[in-house]
Symmetry: C2
Subunit: 373 residues, 2 copies
């Protein structure tokens, strides 16, 4: 029997590979001869760099870049051969800025461009970039500037950083951009389908949570529209409005493809090849709830598995009553790994989580075997 394990990290306790290994250990207690294959799983958000670095045998690199509010921040990304794995939030995330200092008019993605440039200088030519949780609303202008694009006002000067700077954008010079970008392929993990502008756009939908007042939303929306116009871009392509319009810049200037994070991860890890040979697929994440079916990683795994008619079991740190809806999306059965009634801190403890997952997996595989005989 061949069992394929691809479990997203249990945020706060187990990493993706740790979780897969623990579930595999439980499985081997029941099926000692099973061929257990553990693959990394992530959804493009937090944990993606760790999962792919560990699962694919890469290394992590930390660089100092310009943070969203202008101060330097340490940003970590992963390198596996010529592949760079990045989380935008490391360089321009909302959590990098104290609530009192959030200002989407000024916040910049400059550090994202610096992080990419660093990876390019180290030989990376393929990029996976997760773009959830940004503090910015600058349409990716800062990233482009850091990569050598020039965004100029009518007088020929560089526009200021931040979304408000785009209001004075008159033209864009592409010839100064890093030459190696021409050889780079970008895949952007993006779980939203918003356009760049308008009532469903970046400013109106995501601006307020970044600190934008109604007046700022109006100004930022107009600035992004100007950016799209000057760039002769297609602002209505779904995902253009992701991460304050960063999706737009990636697509228009770097030739990026936008896709669900989990699909990019499954593609990079050649999940489909592995699933063809598996008799059973095991997935999971820290919490299974109504959100899980909205394109989160375990559902991506389940859908890929079901294309080949495979059985799918999921584990999670906890589940909500609404989690049952995952049964209709390819997860044949799911199990929380809680064993007793611990305080929350104990439930998040790494060693306890690992033991709980092993023990739960063991009983689940015993039940699976029971059905088979």
């Amino acid at each position: 029997m061949k069992i394929l394990f691809a479990i997203d990290s249990f945020k706060g306790s187990l990493g993706s590979i740790e979780a897969g290994a623990a579930a595999a250990e439980g499985a081997r207690r029941v099926f000692p001869d099973a061929d257990c294959v553990v693959r990394p799983l992530a959804d493009g958000g937090e944990g993606t760099v760790d999962a792919l670095c560990e699962g694919l045998g890469g290394e992590r690199r930390t660089v100092s870049v310009t943070g969203p509010a202008g101060r330097p921040v340490d940003a970590t990304y992963g390198i596996v051969g010529d592949l760079a794995i990045m989380e935008m939030a490391q360089a321009a995330g909302l959590t990098l800025v104290p609530a009192s200092e959030r200002n989407p008019m000024r916040a910049t993605t400059f550090g994202v461009g610096e992080m990419i440039a660093d990876a390019v200088s180290r030989g990376c030519r393929r990029f996976i970039v997760g773009i959830g949780g940004s503090a910015t609303n600058d349409g990716g202008a800062g990233m482009l500037q850091a990569l050598g694009f020039r965004l100029l006002d009518a007088a020929g000067g560089d526009i200021p950083r931040g979304g408000e700077g785009l209001a004075s954008l008159a033209r864009i010079e592409r010839q100064g951009a890093l030459p190696a970008l021409a050889d780079c392929a970008f895949r952007v993990a993006c779980d939203v389908a918003n356009p760049l502008c308008g009532p469903d756009g970046a400013s109106a939908v995501f601006g307020p949570q970044k600190g934008a007042t109604p007046e700022m939303v109006t100004a930022l929306d107009a600035a992004l529209a100007r950016f799209a116009s000057v760039a002769h871009g297609a602002p209505d392509v779904p995902g253009s409005g992701a991460a304050g319009g960063l999706g737009f810049a990636f697509r228009e200037f770097l030739g990026a493809t936008l896709a669900r994070g989990v699909d990019i991860v499954l593609d990079e890890t050649r999940f489909e090849e592995a699933v063809r040979e598996a008799d059973l697929v095991v997935t999971g994440e820290g919490r299974l709830d109504a959100q899980t079916v909205m394109g989160k990683a375990p559902i991506g795994v389940a859908q890929a598995a079901k294309r080949f008619g495979k059985k799918v079991i999921a584990f999670s740190g906890c589940v909500t009553p609404e989690a049952r809806c995952v049964n209709a999306h390819g997860i044949d059965a799911f199990f929380p790994i809680l064993r007793g009634v611990p305080p929350l801190e104990a439930a998040l403890d790494r060693a306890a989580a690992r033991e709980n997952l092993i023990a739960t997996a063991e009983q689940v595989f015993r039940c699976f075997r029971l059905g088979a005989h």
Copy 2:
């Protein structure tokens, strides 16, 4: 498919029948055509009256009897036809006496006899009596007195109640005993094998937790030895020392058989007949831990099921790391019903427990089905 459910109560949340019905509801969500049979399960301790009354269609009766400390207490027992189901603790339990008032020299089982006499007067001729958790060390003398036996001192007077009264016991008159007792059959649920006297006896082992000082233990042990001698009984039969020697009185004077509580319950509910026809047996209890294998109800179920080669799944409110040992005792796989990380109060909430059990059972049966196809 025929599935037999026999789950002990989840103390503090679900009764036995409620738990069985919830697990069956989860099973039917997966196997709508399954024949789900729910039987009551108990171990002779707390919950036994409720489980058998509800499971066998009986009624509960509450009577005022003499409590262990002499004050009246309300004692509830169950009646199903000519069967009475009693928990000794209702009339002579340790929890009926405040810690400051505990006195095993004086505590009496008189109320147990009154409860039996009440049931006899209502036509009961078969008795199941669980005898865990007594406050008494009187060898069952009080019970016998309440049933009309006369325990006399050398002067021909009735000895005082309580273990210390037995020190003056000179002879026993049986002719005053309730005549209907001759037609009664008693089965006593007793999970300990202690003899009446000596270092492993009632006084030495259980006396201290009832408030006995070392001097009291010596006096009580001698008093029980005198009782055995005057009664010409066999104080070394295992279980004689249960409940302060109540096991001795039941066996010697009422012809009772002593057995594991779960075995009595399984016998009374004709469990063996049901298990022969079942394809799968589902059991469980509030907590699965290292104690579970020590003759608790789910292990009794599992052992009975395994005599016929049946598959056994167990559910519990929570499990400890040591619970895994139940796998070696007939429980093929077990599952805690916790879903999230609730505060303990919420975990004990009846409605939440029921929903959690249904939801867990559903996923377990999905997994079972998955193995089968």
